[in-house]
């Protein structure tokens, strides 16, 4: 078991390392000179040269990479071109806000989609199943900004029930904050719902058709007990992993939703850095997203193995 965790951890670290290389070298492809970009076209060549030196741009690519990654690991991701300020604090604040929004979306979508998936599976082929599947499919395929703008048109502007902006005034209570976040959370929920629901449905259908479900039924177990004890445990296990991989979609959705609702989270920060060609900020933001994603999948993997005796006991054998 411990070996399993260490192996996973090692693999995650390797993946992150490759990611950092990809991210770093993506930045190097950028046409033009960052120093020139910062100082503008009118700056004196000496000033540009000085800044290049200051930024370390005159060193070899490898040592640039090394400087960047080692200071990132130490908690200093560098200086933003756009803000002319250290990236660290800006990034942390934005990450905090994004996590808040993501957490709300998660808390809503996970129970909802699993429940819907199970209900659909228990009614395979019936109208309930078709309805849930169609709703899920539609939600998954519509981009967040599209559903977001319609939500704004209807609930914020049309009906005036909820605020248009996502950021609650400073010092707001927990409930007020949720009220502000609920509208941006819904597009995220819509996209995730379909994915998780489909997985829960497929897993449950498979478990229902399994030989062990037949054994349980032919033992004479009441259907409810059979489903709770024999079907759900097996069907929800794979769903956990799916939920973790969906964090990818969630973060991608955050970028869009935060831009639409003007919410100063990590997503908006990255999007702005991209538009403004603020590469240090973009690189740091993207790598942070990668770290968050790997962390979540790692936790899910470990959770999965704890619940799955096949993996949990493999080290003992």
């Amino acid at each position: 078991m411990l070996r399993f965790i260490l192996k996973r951890l090692g693999l995650a670290l390797i993946t992150l390392w490759i990611l950092s290389v990809i991210v770093f070298f993506a930045g190097q492809v950028l046409p033009g000179d960052p120093a020139r970009a910062i100082l503008g076209p009118l700056a004196a060549p000496q000033a540009v040269h000085a800044l290049r030196h200051q930024l370390g741009l005159d060193q070899s690519l490898l040592s640039q990479y090394w400087n960047w990654i080692s200071s990132f690991v130490k908690g200093d991701p560098g200086t933003s071109y756009q803000y002319q300020a250290p990236i660290g604090p800006i990034l942390t604040a934005a990450l905090g806000r994004s996590l808040k929004l993501a957490a709300l979306a998660f808390v809503i979508v996970v129970p909802l989609s699993i429940f819907a998936g199970i209900v659909a599976a228990l009614n395979v082929g019936r109208p309930v199943d078709r309805t849930i599947s169609v709703v899920g499919l539609s939600g998954t395929t519509v981009p967040e900004f599209v559903s977001g703008i319609i939500l704004i048109v209807v609930f914020a502007v049309g009906l005036g029930w909820l605020p248009v902006s996502a950021l609650a005034p400073p010092g707001s209570s927990f409930l007020t904050q949720i009220k502000y976040l609920i509208l941006p959370a819904i597009p995220l929920v819509l996209v995730l719902f379909g994915y998780i629901m489909r997985m829960a449905r497929a897993g449950t259908v498979e478990a229902l058709e399994s030989d062990y479900a037949r054994t349980a039924t032919l033992k004479g177990l009441p259907r409810g007990v059979m489903i709770r004890r024999h079907v759900l445990r097996n069907s929800l296990l794979p769903t956990i992993t799916v939920i973790a991989t969906q964090t990818g979609y969630l973060i991608g959705g955050l970028v869009v939703v935060e831009v639409l609702f003007r919410y100063p989270g990590l997503g908006q920060l990255v999007a702005q850095a991209a538009t403004n060609k603020d590469f240090p900020m973009l690189e740091a933001g993207v790598l942070t997203i990668g770290i968050v994603y790997m962390l979540v999948t790692l936790i899910a993997d470990i959770g999965f193995s704890l619940l799955n005796p096949r993996i949990r006991l493999s080290a003992v054998e």
Partner: protein, 684 residues
Amino acid sequence: MSSTAADALTVEGIDISYRVRGRDLVTIRDVSFRIGRGESYGLVGESGSGKSTIALAVVRYLARNGRVSKGSIAIDGRDVLALNGGELRKLRQDTVSMVYQEPGKALNPTIKVGRQVAEVFELAGLKGAEALDRSREMLEKVRISDPAGVMNRYPHQLSGGMLQRVVIAMALAAEPSLLILDEPTTALDATVEAEVLDLVSALRTEFQTSLLFISHNLAVIAKMCDRVGVLYAGEMMEEGSAREVFDDPRNPYTVGLLRCIPRRGTAKNQDTLDTIPGFPPGPGETGQGCVFADRCGLVEERCRTEAPPLYDAGPERESRCHFHERAQTLPRVVKPETEVAAAANGSGPGEVLVSAADVSKTFHIEGQTIHGLVDVSVEVRAGETLGLVGESGSGKTTLARVLLGLTSPDQGAMLAIEGKALPENAHSRTLDQRKALQIVFQNPDSALNRRHSIRRLLSRALDKLGGYRGEALTTRLRALLSEVRLAERYLPMRPAQLSGGLKQRVAIARAFAGDPKIVVCDEPTSALDVSVQAAILNLLNDLQRREQVSYLFISHDLGVVRYLSDRIAVLYLGRIMEIGTAEQVFNAPHHPYTEALLSAVPTLESGEAARERIKLEGEIPSAANPPTGCVFHTRCPRFLGDVCVNTEPPLAEAEPGHAIRCHIPLEELRRLQGEEVTVAGAGD
């Protein structure tokens, strides 16, 4: 056995139909049988005969689109089809239970075994601790060693044999009056199968349970059942006491089926297997007459127009044939005399064709080291068949793959063909070497590319291996088809459009495309029905006679191996335990493992039903963790003592051409085994 009300199961004239694309397909037609209290009833039939469908109908677990459209089913006199949800659940809780073909899938992978057994007791009203206690007692009854330990394990930690014991324990826990066993030992190894069958027999008496035993294996049914019903295409063809049906069949189908099976101890040059021509009809394809009419050698006009009823064919005997009195006059499809004569012409063993010396293969899987093969040396002579016998994990398939160059052996192995060294990797071999060594795989569905037509499959092989192009290829393709007796109309078809037997013929044709010197046959008939198997075995035999090809024939079916092989090697945990001519290996003195293996296999011969079986203790050890000394010592019925535990015996020549890996001296083996073996020679 007289009053219907007391019967454990009464099935009365049932039809079962499935609704497929708006049509009702009748798969079971007018089937009736009854099982008296304490009686053991066997349903036997080939795949597609509908035997499992009947079992599932009895417990009302048909697929959603299936239903019993006619007739009635009663368990303990209660009408199963009329029960409501609660009553049905009660019936399943305490009156009827089931054991399945794949025990690994029948248990929930995420719940401990003990809890799953305890559920049955909880349903009967017992509370936690008490239910667990009873479960442990139940596991003791199915002779699981260390029941307390097993209780706390998950299914994936147990072997197939153990799992099936657990399922049996679970099924018998509620002391049902009817136990249904659906191919309960088909997925198990021979020695494990024998143990499980013994267990079922013993428990059946102890619990006074009636059995409905479903199997495709006639010998297993003969061993386990009092009465038997033979199913074909969803209809009951013949019914009667097991002994009488198999010794004195009254239906042409049963007669034909029995002639397809190699009799114990018979070899290819002594007897030719008969076959049943044609294919069984699919569901919904049956016409108005007898379902077997198209394949029956006794068919007359009446059979095609008038469906035969179940005729009374003697006391407690019934047969669905207009001519049941003369069923046994069914003409043979394959004429034995000429072929046997031809076989006798075969010259003696030729030169050594292929040899493998000191082959070991170690696998590293998930941190475990598995010794797939340990120091195996074999040679195959020109024109002979070497049979490889062994249970799962014995390494027989690995050995074949090493020879073919699909798996590279550990360092030190020496492969040679016609005296010249053979590269380990198929890619490094010359065209001649590749042509010389070909294979027929177990499962044609896997072996034939399902997106290629038969023409393409065979042409490519003829091109790559035979070097045929253009006109010559077409000519050779025709010849090849006729050699394996495939009609040319199959050429444009895809494999999925052919039946299992035809697909295997295509695979055989492909193996023979480059005029091979040796063909590895890896369980070529184990995925096929008995009637199809016979035709394939005859074909292989035929090809060998004509082409002088050698076979390395792998099978777990001892009857088949004995029938086809000139020499036989017995493998256990990656080691050759015994090797010699077929007669040497099958007759005493032989290795205790061979002895046990032979005695484990049930046979149809009437005299042998009562023979004393040599019991093997425990399960086959894992190849990842093989026993010390002689690897067989943990289960050996002739265990000597410390020497077996500490020292691995050498594979020593016992007589010319016959080697045995055992510490017991040959004379001692002869004495020990001679006492009870009056049987093995009976077939010769």
